[in-house]
Symmetry: C2
Subunit: 358 residues, 2 copies
């Protein structure tokens, strides 16, 4: 079905058949050499702009004409063989298909990599260990400058054995091994910022619906909540901290418990939970933000800005994690610690108002 | 900050300093040759398993030992220079960071590419034309086997000039040029399937909230709706078709108009609209599915399965588009038409029930 192999061994015309609008195959160094009537070695010297190579001006001109006429592109891989490393940075991601977070890490990493002349070689593993091993092997074979190993949610990770054969930086995850370089979100600061949104509006009885699942985010966001309360001189009340599964259904089911303790405001572990809680509060005839103020976490695309009312939240800095990972890998930033913590900015919308009695 | 350059020109020990847990640089062919006491040409012959090369068994053994000891990896790029194309397939995507759809195309394309020994070289452009040009140039320089050019929403596209230098397949988009190969979702069948969910439950007055924005999905989903009604012997009532901006706010604002025409069921152009409509119907004191049945389109992660009640919808086959794009590029599938249409499967949840009066 393709005109690529046409039996005669000759290249199909560039215009191609109606079924193959592209060229049949890329122009080779050999074709340039034949067109210019020189050796492939001479073409190579011209292409690689070897200044000390003794080539007659007339010959050089003939080669350059042939390159232009045929549309030859120098082979980036040939340069790699000379330099030992390619202009690739590998990026292993575990959830491109199932979460919007991995995509934002990719976006940030790619923007920063391109600034410095690198392209990303991305492998999406969706948590498949075998695929991950293969992907890292492939990156090593392509002589990547280094590898960013990223996870879609912030967690501790083991370092896969082949990863150690490259320069690497962990992105949105970290290792127990001292010195392993990583960039992660600052969960404690994020938790503090989420709570401070509510404090600024005059709330004092602020509930926190934390996740049931152990994670750095669970510990960090709770600690940030406690720090913000303490700084505001509000005693910590354990009754106001509850736990639920971190999705819409979890948030919905937490509604009853939340309403038992006289909270005027609630900070949810994530936006998905807040979305479910919205449904639960509505079923109790309660209005957001008039009866209760709600803050989320993640600033998740498709949800946070589009709830009714739009949700105040704290953004996870996925784009910035991607940027910082590349900068750390290339040695452009020199953070004091092996693990750099990225700021999680507050995003205020209309789900927060001062308490009714204030 | 890195131990990569250590001044002495010698390789840092593999264990590395605490700041650089990875190797400082990959082992080279030259290092293997030095360790084995042979020429680089000999190492190359052993690595490439040249059967006709005359190498003493003892020498071959020494080289293989050195390869094992040093952890040398053969360079995939060297093979590319010999064969003329690499084991890469390029994938240009325009919305990895902002939509979950591009990620699913990547996932499908990668799974299929790996099956056939190819790795994906992915560039995320977020709609930036300059970045797109650069990305395609880069892929050409790396001698990709071909390029998948994908868009996050189904639309007509121009073919960027450099794309014509490679074998290419358009994924989730198509060109007006005859013969340009493409894989797209079957919007008409999808619209028919969405409507049929409601017909099967006994609904006759089925509204359709279409998008305001021109798109193949807008035309196709309407046509499918009309075809399904016709097949069920239900006359088309233009009053039941309205338009709104295709997001939550658009769906919410369409509520009033929807309720004017006595519909017992509504099919929304996408799940985001359905999410906003849920809010609007609730504010009117209406219950889903008891008072009105709702069907969406997209089966969007994070939304469809997590609305209250969970939303019946039709899935966009992004994963399958990625798979089909690779198969078409590699000539594994030979569809009769240059543009292959992929099935959009119905996903039934609890937002649909028979009408109250039925």
């Amino acid at each position: 079905m393709s005109s690529k192999e046409n039996g005669s061994g000759k290249r199909a015309p560039a215009a191609g058949s109606p079924r193959t609008p592209g060229r049949a195959h890329p122009v080779t160094l050999r074709e340039v050499a034949e067109a210019a009537g020189v050796s492939t070695a001479t073409v190579s010297l011209v292409v690689n702009k070897k200044k000390d190579a003794r080539i007659a001006e007339e010959t050089r001109q003939r080669v350059e004409d042939a390159i232009r006429t045929l549309g030859y592109r120098p082979n980036a891989m040939a340069k790699t063989l000379v330099s030992g490393t390619s202009r690739f940075i590998g990026l292993v991601a575990d959830g491109v298909a199932t979460t919007p977070f991995a995509g934002q890490i990719i976006h940030g990493a790619q923007d920063e990599a391109w600034k410095h002349g690198y392209a990303l070689l991305i492998a999406n593993t969706e948590g498949n260990g075998e695929l991950e091993q293969d992907a890292i092997q492939m990156m090593l074979e392509y002589k990547v400058r280094g590898i960013l190993y990223s996870t879609w949610f912030h967690r501790q990770t083991d370092i896969p054995a082949p990863l150690r054969e490259a320069d690497f930086v962990l992105v949105n995850c970290f290792s127990a091994e001292p010195g392993a370089r990583a960039v992660v979100p600052d969960e404690i600061q994020g938790g503090r910022s989420a709570t401070e949104i509510l404090l600024r509006h005059g709330h004092h009885r602020i509930a926190f619906i934390n996740a049931t699942i152990p994670a750095p985010a669970k510990d960090g966001r709770l600690l940030g909540y406690r720090e913000a309360l303490e700084e505001a001189g509000i005693p910590f009340d354990p009754e106001l901290v509850m736990e639920a599964y971190p999705d819409q259904e979890g948030g919905y089911r937490a509604t009853g418990e939340l309403l038992k303790h006289g909270a005027t405001a609630v900070y949810c572990y994530n936006d998905r939970m807040a979305m479910g809680l919205y449904d639960g509060l509505r079923e109790h005839g309660l209005s957001i933000p008039d009866d209760i103020a709600v803050v989320g976490f993640d600033n998740q695309e498709v949800i946070a800005a589009h709830l009714r009312p739009p949700l105040s939240t704290v953004a996870l800095p996925h784009y910035e994690l991607g940027v910082a990972g590349v900068r750390m890998l290339l040695g452009l930033d020199s953070p004091a610690e092996a693990v750099a913590k990225m700021h999680c900015p507050a995003v205020e919308r209309t789900s927060v108002r001062a308490p009714a009695h204030a």
